[in-house]
Symmetry: C2
Subunit: 291 residues, 2 copies
């Protein structure tokens, strides 16, 4: 299986490397070529254009900045001309479910298959090959290219085109709201005079326990808001969640409230570049408490 | 160490048994004596009154229906007369932090120590001796009686009197709000056409993962709301959380919203005896969707 990898940045770089090390033949392209150069020692074939990279590829993986960047690639006439019939384009960046659905239609017109397969697990997961990969599209296409996911992490097929992106949004909604829950628990404990760190220990393994409680809760107690995941990205995710909810004509009250409060954190409380656990700062501010 | 166990119901029964099996000398009392009878075969000394049970005890554990029931016991003249000086009363029921603080003062007047040590883990945890036990009070008193917790589960000291109860409330706030988060994720996935079960699998071990996602999320997908933990008890906890927040003069916006929505579920949507994951029914109702 020949794989073209488009976008070898913080996430895409180690992913392309892991594929190459596993024995796949990889051609790669990056907008800033210097960021792709380290891949040469893993026998990755660095190309000077995306159109060159996709030539003869069975699988194209895009890991670009956003949906617009992918859209541009897929509408570039040189790239379109070089796509092999029946090849599969896998979008591994986080884009909107609607964009994924539109990209699928656009590529199917060229007889090119499409999967949306965003990931969770950050740069560590990309480096260790331990990403959670949520795959939407046609299950027979997934079966055909499933081996390509193996060096990257654990891929699970979650439904028709757009479902991978929808799963990523569901993930982000849970993360934002759970951070809000842990912030309230932490404030309640602090104001009531309990030791929040000891309580996190006591709750380990119980119904209230989560990675968010242990990691983000600790950050709140320590007032350590170095990112991690910056609040502006959490806010972008929440915007996409509400846009999708609107398209589906559903109300998600906690997601809406989380959106409004992250907006306040980012716009009024200078929290844009603080870790998303800084929703605790917004809660302190609501209550007239200083950080 | 001689232990008096007051209240041997669904939780207290197996706890008293585990203490007896571990070699402690246990005297026990229960309002309905038949529920204590099974303890005889574990050499528990069943008493006909609470006053008899507490006589000569080094430790009294109360596991009664609520704070009022404990209050009544502690103000019964016969019981008060039978408490040994320097014994320790451990409240293991879930009562309000303020009640715990009042009980402590009341017993300290008799030269009796007091710890509040509510538990999490349900009847299964009580039976297996795997409860999470959150202990508030004086740390030297905790050290003195710590061995008595060992057969019951994992005890963690979390701060001054009332802190154990506060920790339990923090636990319940996180549970209620996380259920709300998982409900929104589940609805988003269903309406968008993704397979929520596959997404739960994909998210396993990631930032959004939790026991609530896996267990309560599954209940939502399967529309299985047999309790489990009934919604009326979740609502009672949320009332106690807001009462404590009011006493501390803090606002907890997600907890307030969860309280209002569980109230609606219990009062308007006949959800009183449904599992607390039935907040999903309330979300469906907001959105004009049928269960």
């Amino acid at each position: 299986m020949k794989i073209a990898f488009l976008g070898t940045g913080l996430m895409g770089g180690p992913m392309a490397k892991n594929l190459a090390v596993s024995g796949f033949h990889i051609s790669a392209w990056n907008r800033t070529p210097s960021k792709a150069a380290f891949l040469k020692e893993f026998e990755v074939d660095i190309k000077i254009s995306a159109a060159e990279a996709v030539k003869n590829a069975d699988v194209i993986i895009s890991m670009l900045s956003d949906g617009d960047a992918s859209h541009e690639m897929q509408n570039d006439e040189k790239i379109r001309g070089n796509l092999s019939p029946n090849c599969t384009w896998i979008e591994m960046g986080s884009i909107k479910p609607d964009e994924a659905r539109a990209h699928s239609v656009n590529l199917n017109d060229l007889n090119v298959n499409y999967l949306d397969a965003p990931v969770s697990g950050g740069t560590k997961g990309a480096e260790n090959g331990s990403l959670a990969i949520m795959v939407g599209g046609d299950s027979t296409v997934f079966a055909k290219v499933e081996d390509a996911f193996e060096p990257l992490g654990r891929a699970v097929f979650v439904g028709p085109t757009g479902s991978g992106q929808l799963a990523k949004l569901a993930n982000q909604a849970i993360v934002a709201i759970t951070i809000g829950a842990v912030a309230e628990a932490t404030l309640l404990l602090e104001e009531g005079g309990a030791d929040a760190g000891a309580v996190r220990d006591a709750l380990l393994g119980g119904f209230a326990d989560s990675t968010i409680l242990q990691q983000h809760g600790k950050r709140m107690s320590e007032r350590n808001f170095e990112p991690g995941g910056p609040s502006r990205l959490q806010l972008k995710d929440l915007r996409n969640i509400l846009a999708e909810a609107k398209a589906l004509k559903i109300d998600l009250p906690f997601s809406l409230s989380a959106h409004d409060r992250y907006t306040r954190l980012v716009k009024s409380l200078a929290g844009s570049e603080l870790d998303h656990s800084a929703l605790f700062i917004e809660l302190l501010d609501i209550n007239g408490r200083k950080t």
